[in-house]
Symmetry: D2
Subunit: 255 residues, 4 copies
């Protein structure tokens, strides 16, 4: 069945002090949900406040984007963290962002893991549970944003799950993304990406890197805003959706 | 008029990673309110969770104890921070602690500045306002814990203020504490401290370092738990209060 | 007397992890001395190695650019640091950079304070002495790079001093830079800057903001490479120098 | 052949800011080589200077004890760091400590990995090589301090290697230490430890946890000084050595 609405989510608020990352002021106008850095892998209190203000101005749903305590590695290096530590890191970071969100009269919408947490979560169920527990304990109303097909543990813990797809990444048969190190992992041709999105919206399927057809449940498409090229891609994706009469709405309004 | 109840507050939760600070497990049994480090000058997510759990176990009121982003200096070195930065630091830290408090079903009780913030706030009204604004925006129900006579700005901003005295510190005529660098600044004789507390509870006055009598409004006495000697002093103070039929209650129950 | 050679120095190596700052790869080709961040206010071990490699490739003299332990504030916020702490921060940072320099077979050339250290040093002679002591103890051969007229303490401590001027900044009568907050503090007109440099090189004088003529001793001109506009300015300055047959050499070769 | 001299090495200088770790002032009197924290997992510039001063006072050899950039985890959590990053971390940390050592007129003696680096190095030869490369490039005279039998890579890279044994830890047949999580991993009985040391010094062998006899080459014994109990153990070990006419000397004097 043809989808008539979808969420566009994007990482934001990952600048730190004098260091600026991403074209947040531009990309915010194009998306419907923002995954906001919480000060561990990126983001700082000032950046968090400004990002939340931007989200409010453009009616974009705000999610926490907690990461590893590794600013130097931007949270992209796996660390041997215990589930207990992980849970505490999530409560701390989500709590901090939630305060900025509440102060402007909004509600925190969702939580999405950052960087190496994704890899770590896939390798260790206890870590995933710890993150989900933190999320649910902070508020049972928080949405867990997961890769399509990868939200089972969150669901089993009674979290609302929204699934996302990557329009510009190739998929393996097991619904995982093709590693960035392999050729063909990242798509750059707007036409090809347009065709994928059309197929996704109309049939709920995507072609895998080995040429098969994969069914993917999703309510959100993940986009990037860290380079001018990435921003153009978001405009392209948004244009395709608009052309197909697909409404772009924060994930919280879709479930 | 004789006081029949008072709060005992103490800084806690300022350990970090493998570094342990303070005899939290002991002092928690003796006090009624804990000022908990929030990860900037001291404290980390793990320590925060454990400290909140201790507070819950012993029915101790939990306050946020935000500090400067200077772990190396333990938040004791003045930094030229703008009011806007300060407000953001407070929202971040209070928000993070609030999450740990809510997760165990408690309510955050109060906020108390840490370390050099006290000096900075006295020198710059805008900084004080920024901290108070952050506190009130997070929740108008939060108590602002201030030195006796020093809570005027917080009051003018419609925050509930609880005033505190230091039983083991000498006072100047203007209600400020005598600088630690001066002789006689810190009292160590249990008898003398006992006499001061008796006088405080019975008459609401204290003798200044130059021999005059100072009226001090207060609902809380600040104690320390970072050394075995400090802990003994808390026991002494507590004993004096109990001997005088003074109830020891979290500040939130006193106003 | 007309100057026939001058050094061009520029801050570099202030990126951190994924955060990129400055057009180091471009500006390195235009200058003769680099002030390299040492990991406190900016810079990290990876960035330091890469910056030193660039400097070696283009025969640029390498200096340490130590800062306050305040990455969040980029070392631009004054902190109440003791002279003893300051000396230790300098030894640590200069030592770390020196290792990267030695590993590629170069010699560390100079030391230049970063950010708020400049303001702090002017207000507190003991702090200046502490920084100079650290520099001299690490190596008596290290050059202390100072604002023109501001290197007296370093000289009195038997450090070799090189003085610098800012081609794009207005001067007060006391040889201090006009505060950035005041109008006219920063010059942007290439013609005007060209005229100033010509005057500086030919007569050793500069016009102050109130229209007087100031004599300025110098062997180095400080330039900036953190924006495309700044880079263009460096090109302009370099062009003017070349047009006037002024050789551009690392400060270590000028004294 | 009976050994007539041995080095006693101990981790030191791992305090941070207000956080104190270890009984450095006591243990320094009992050992001959100190592995000094370099500010990543523990230690700070102030602590480094004080530790080096202690080492100088008691004629103890100073080694760098570099760790992962994870103060929160005390460098004990494995991180996915590339060999290139690791090399840079080593150059930075060793360089910083070397500066403090040179400033007091001493020479840096050795390098010893801290915490999780040991595990990571065993699992990844490229990481070990990166650490050794950094060490050798800083100075070919630096000693690489390795577990007995585990210094092959360092040797192949032309580093001088000193091997160490743990007097209070049980050994597996492959010369690895029995994991702390297993029963019997840590020995606490002074008599038993005394017997082990006697056997080590007289025959160069140790009994493994499964009762076999293992030959262990070594010139250094690693001891701990982080608790009063640990300190007593060092005194015991030292006493046994003295009783057996074994001289205790910095490793640099033994090879």
């Amino acid at each position: 069945m043809k989808k008539t609405a979808v969420d566009l989510n994007c990482d934001m608020g990952e600048s730190f002090g004098r260091y600026k990352l991403g074209l947040d002021e531009e990309v915010i106008k194009l998306i419907s949900s923002a995954n906001v850095g919480c000060g561990f892998h990126g983001g700082d209190p000032h950046v968090m406040r400004e990002t939340v203000a931007l989200a409010k101005e453009y009616s974009v749903g705000v999610g926490a984007h907690p990461g590893l305590p590794d600013l130097l590695g931007f949270g992209r290096r796996e660390m041997k963290v215990t589930p207990e530590e992980m849970k505490d890191y999530f409560i701390y970071q989500i709590g901090a962002l939630k305060a900025f969100v509440q102060v402007v009269g909004m509600k925190l919408q969702h939580v999405k893991m950052h960087g190496a947490l994704d890899t770590m979560a896939r390798a260790d169920e206890e870590l995933t549970k710890a993150m989900c527990e933190a999320t649910r304990e902070i508020s049972p109303g928080l949405i867990w944003l997961a890769h399509s097909g990868k939200g089972k543990i969150a669901e089993s813990m009674e979290l609302k799950v929204v699934q996302e797809v990557y329009a510009d990444r190739a998929y393996n048969a097991d619904k995982s993304l093709v590693s960035r190190r392999l050729p063909g992992a990242v798509l750059r041709d707007p036409k090809e990406i347009g065709a994928r999105i059309k197929q996704l919206m109309e049939t709920g399927t995507i072609s895998t890197i080995d040429g098969n057809t994969l069914e993917l449940e999703f309510d959100s498409i993940c986009v990037h805003g860290d380079t001018p090229g990435a921003l153009d891609m978001v405009k392209t994706i948004r244009g395709i959706l608009v052309d197909h009469d697909v409404a772009i709405k924060p994930m919280g309004e879709l479930i």
